[in-house]
Structures are given as C-alpha cells and as structure tokens.
Amino acid sequence: MSFLKMLQEFFADLRQEGIPITFSQVEDCCQALLLIDWSMEEYFYTALYSTLVKEHSHESAFANVYHRHFKPGTTEIMSQPQWSPPVYRESDLIEDISGYAIDALPVPGMQSMRGGLSQANRNPLDQNFGLANLDDVRKMETLYPLIARRLAARMIKKNRRNDQNIINYRSTMRHSMATGGVPLNIVTYKRHKEKPIIIALCDVSGSVMTFSCFALALLSSMQRFFRQLRTFAFIEDLDEITHLLSTGDPLNLRTSVLKGARRVMGVRGYTNYGATFMGFIQRYGHTLSPKTSVLIFGDARNNWNNDETWALDEIRKKSKRVYWFNPELGSNWPRGDSRMEVYRKCCHHSFSCPTLSKLEQAIGKL
C-alpha cells in the first residue's frame, strides 16, 4: 500500500469521525511532514496534530484514528524524504513524499484495522444521553466545564446592554469639549435588560437520569445570569432542591437529591407527571408570576397515569413562559406512554435535546 493511499485513507477516516479536513490543511500537513525528521514518532505525530486538529474536543478522536492507522515503530522504517520546493496540488505533493517512501513500507504492519466506528470514538458532545454508558458519561463530564464556559459567554453577550439608543444630549455636549466643540463621540442612554426568574422542574428517574443531571449542573453554573433560580426535582412527587445545588458539584447531584428530598420517590417510584404538576400548582403556585419562566426537563413518559393537563395549563397562565426540554428525538414523542403531544400544546416552546450540544444550544436560547 503506498504512502499516498495511506494518507488519503487516514484523512477520510478523520473526516468520518467528524474532524473536518480541508484541502489547505492537507497541504499544510504535507509541507510539515516534509520538514520534520521521521525517525522519531513524536515529531511525526505532532506534525499531523498541529495541522489537522483545531479543536480540543477532537483530540481524543484524532488519537484513536492515528493509532489505528500508524502502528508504533512504522515511522522509523520509512526513509526520510529530501526537501523539495513546495508544490500546490494535493496529489502532486503526496506523490513527492510517496516517491521516496514507497519501498520502505512492510505491508502487514501498515494495514489499518477497520474495526467499525465504535461509540468510544464519537465526539462526546454528540453522545446521545440515552445510549451513554459509564465511560461515555465520564468523557462528557470532562467536557462539562467547557460547555459551562461557552454558555456563560453566550449569556453575557445576550445580556449586553443595548447601546444603540436615544442620544443623551447633555453627555454628548460635555464630551465634545475634549474635541474642540465637535461632537465626535455620541453618548446614548444605556438600558439594562432585566434578568429572568427561572423555575426548573427536573425528572430524576432512571430513564432521564444523565440528562437531567447535566441540565441541572448547567443551570446551576449559570446562576449569576438569573435574578433567581429555584429548582425542583420530581419522580412521583415534587420537592425543592435549590439548597442542594448551592455547592458546585455537578454529577453527584442525583444521589444527594435522592437522599435529601425523600418525598420525590413517592410510593412506587415511577414517574407521574400529572401528580407532579398538580402538586406544584397546589403547593408552589404562588411563586409563579408574569416574570417567571418555567423550564421542565423530562421525557413526558407518564406510565399511563392521569395527564392533569389542566395543571400545566394553570402553570402556563400564571407564568411568562413555559419551556420543555425532552431528551428524546422528536420522532419518538408520539410513541408509547409519552404524553408529549398533549403537554407540548400547553408549553410555549419545546426542545428535543438528545445530545450535549443540542442541550447547550437549547439553553442558550433562553
């Protein structure tokens, strides 16, 4: 197998894993390969890495694909190509390298193992919540601070005060003194946007466990963008968990919730949305006001209990906005015991967030 083909297969595999490789990157990569000494594996890896990987979340996938294609020790066997002036066509450039290295490759060592794209290689941001096993959850956990930071930056941008407003004549004239009476800087009235009050209801039962824990963790990290954040957990009954979120520890939430809020479990331990909404209206209805936004995190699988849509209707009438975040795909909503189709009519907006990146986008839209 020639080196040309091997490189092209390497790029194709990377693209399949979700790492975009453009033509100019290929060109840079080849130029870099011509510059370095191939006897040391690390230089070879670094040359590929710095030209092809441009995002931190791609690093692990890149490493996996690299180890699949280039077995350790193969770079020493390849003979070092001589420096030649750069050429501009992809195949031309690779011809250049492959011309020098073509005899040196033992065929068995170079065969890349095409063992299907396992879940382990997927970008953790696109990992489906329902299909995640323990390893995947750990990987998502490591990326959690990145997402929290990105959301925070987005919220800061949104809450930026609007600077294109009514002109403040007095200030403008005063500042114009510095430029000799010519108003070069125009000063406007700055208006600050009001921060929302958020009430979050989270289903913490087994089916949506990972999803709601991440959602709760993200919300608590964004607390400073809300005037007030109150969170409630429910399975069969509802309980307030705001005091448990005050410590910043994201993923031990579920155990602390189940320990601290025993009411949540109820009698049988199966999710009951109807009873939850009823309980919320009866006990916490007074917290709703025209300024509150209600966020519901759950899959709407009611286990054939009563719907009590009137309760959700009441909630909507009393608050400004009701949003529903469902970890299932939109196509699964009408199936089984999911009452999403009924409930979504009572919500202002519903989002389907099967992956971390969708969850991030959805929360960013608040």
Partner: protein, 301 residues
C-alpha cells in the same frame, strides 16, 4: 532535527520558559512554515508566556494586542489623532496658508497613531505579534484580522498601502469560550497547552523560584498535580503554584504537611467551596493525596 528541537527547548529555558517536546516541535513548524499559531488552553497555563519567551529567545521585539469584546479597527489598526489635527487647524486658521497644504500636513505620519497591528507590520525589524484572547472579539474584527493574516498588508485611505517588510511571528491565544471561525483556524497551526505533568512542573519551579530545593519542588509539583485531578471550580494555575512556592520558601518551610498547606491554601485556591472541599479531603485522610475518602458517596457511578 533532534538537535534543532533541543536548541529550541534550551533557548526557551534560557528565556525563562519550560516547554515540552510537543510545544517545541510546533514552534519549529510554525517558524519554518511561516504560519500563525493558535494556542488554546485553560487560564494560567502559560500561553502568553510562551510568546513572550519566544520573543526573548529570538531577541526580537514583542508587539502585544490585548483583545476584548467590542474592540474595533481604531484600537487595533490605526487611528488619526483627531484632537491634534483640530488644534493644528485652529492654530493655522488665521495665517494665509493654502488649504491643500494644510490638508496634506494633517494626514501625514505625525498625526497617525499606530496601533499594534500596524506597528508589527510596518516595523523594519522582525517582530513577534501576540494577539491575546482572540476568542473575546466579535465577528467583524475576526474577518478583518483574517484579511490581515493572509496578506500582511494594510490600506490606509490617505496614506496608501503598507506592506509588511518582514512577516511577523504571530501568536494567537484563546481561552476557548467560543469557537473561532473556521477560516481563521485553517490559516493557523494549533496547539493545546494543558496543565503540565509533575516533572515539567518541577522543572518550572526549579527555574522560576531561585533557592528552592529539589525535594520541595518535587513535593509541590506532586501536590499541585493531585489537586488538579479534583473537580474544582477553578484549578490552580501555574502562576499561583509559583507564588505558593515562593511564599513557602520565604516562610522558611522545607517540608509540606497538612497544616502548612491548610494555612497557605488561599494562595492557590480562590473559591470558598473549593477550599472547603479540599480541606475536607485533607482532614479525612490526613495526607496530601487529595483522593476522595473511602466513606464519601459517589453513588450512581
């Protein structure tokens, strides 16, 4: 080539920065390919320091542009000194000078305020251009920067086109609070600087804190490494660990134990919840390994 990399590493150590093989290789590639370098990583890991040490090593001047949200051309490229121009106009108002001559005089080099980007392009000697925190700027600034980085020339309407005499070494640092635009990433090489392992951190301590013993450096590096494995709101940065080491040296402490660490914890931990958590870990096991104690509940994993 190995000695080239070793030369780079030694040169950086002379300039006061310890880098590993990967960083040195990427620096070598960036210089050889004349490409800008995007350096990403958590806060306090030495991204800005890398550019500064590089400029010291090459013995060329460093031009720094600190980016922030809302930065625009006038702060980054150039600006006319309006106030001085107005003063000049008013000063010559009563004299009989030709209008065209006044105009030409006003839009000349004296009245041009050169900002960092223009400075680095128009300087006769090669420079290192450090664009700090590029992820804070907005989209149109990035587009303007892109144009600059591909052509290395700038057009000022009244003065004409200014071409770069020497292509500067460009470093862009980012905290990854948002995705950079694809076009920018494609133009540059990329490096992710993570927190170093214990050996490199020990080297950094020995280099930057004069008078520290090998033993102490090793212990501090090991403790720093294990603290970073704990889930904290903010992991201690390298600069904070250096401050901690010099503080311990000043206090005359030559061994690390739980009590001293507790007393000086505020140097490296800046959030109350982190401090409480670490204190709990230290007290429960009475050592500095910072592992969760056997009785802690990490239930559903």
């Amino acid at each position: 080539m190995q000695d080239k990399i070793r030369n780079i590493k030694d040169g950086m150590i002379n300039a006061g920065y310890v880098c590993d093989d990967k960083t040195a290789t990427v620096l070598y590639l960036a210089e050889a390919l004349h490409k800008p370098l995007i350096v990403e990583g958590p806060a306090g890991v030495g991204k800005t320091g890398l550019a500064q040490a590089f400029s010291l090593m090459k013995n060329i001047s460093l031009v720094r542009l600190q980016c922030y949200e809302g930065i625009d051309e006038s702060k980054a490229l150039y600006e006319w000194n309006y106030k001085r121009q107005l003063l000049h106009i008013q000063a010559v108002a009563n004299k009989n000078i030709d209008v065209i001559e006044v105009e030409q005089d006003i839009f000349s080099e004296n009245y041009l305020l050169r900002r960092p980007l223009l400075q680095s392009i128009s300087s006769p000697a090669p420079t290192v251009l450090l664009i700090d925190e590029i992820d804070k700027v907005d989209f149109d600034f990035e587009a303007m920067l892109l144009e600059l980085l591909s052509e290395y020339q700038m057009t000022i309407p009244e003065l004409g086109t200014i071409k770069a005499l020497n292509i500067p070494f460009v470093f862009l640092t980012s905290n990854a609070t948002r995705e950079l635009s694809e076009a920018l990433k494609r133009r540059c090489l990329w490096l992710y600087l993570d927190f170093p392992n214990s050996e490199i951190e020990q080297q950094i301590l020995l280099l930057k804190v004069p008078g520290i013993t090998q033993l102490m450096a090793g212990k501090i590096a090991a403790v720093a490494h294990s603290i970073r494995q704990v889930e904290l709101k903010k992991a201690p940065s390298i600069a904070e660990i250096l401050d901690w080491a010099s503080a311990l040296l000043d206090m005359g402490i030559d061994d690390l134990d739980v009590e001293t660490t507790l007393q000086t914890l505020t140097i490296i931990i800046k959030h109350r919840e982190d401090a409480v958590k670490l204190e709990g870990m230290m007290r429960s096991r009475n050592d500095l390994s910072f592992q969760p104690s056997p009785t802690s509940n990490r239930g559903w994993r």
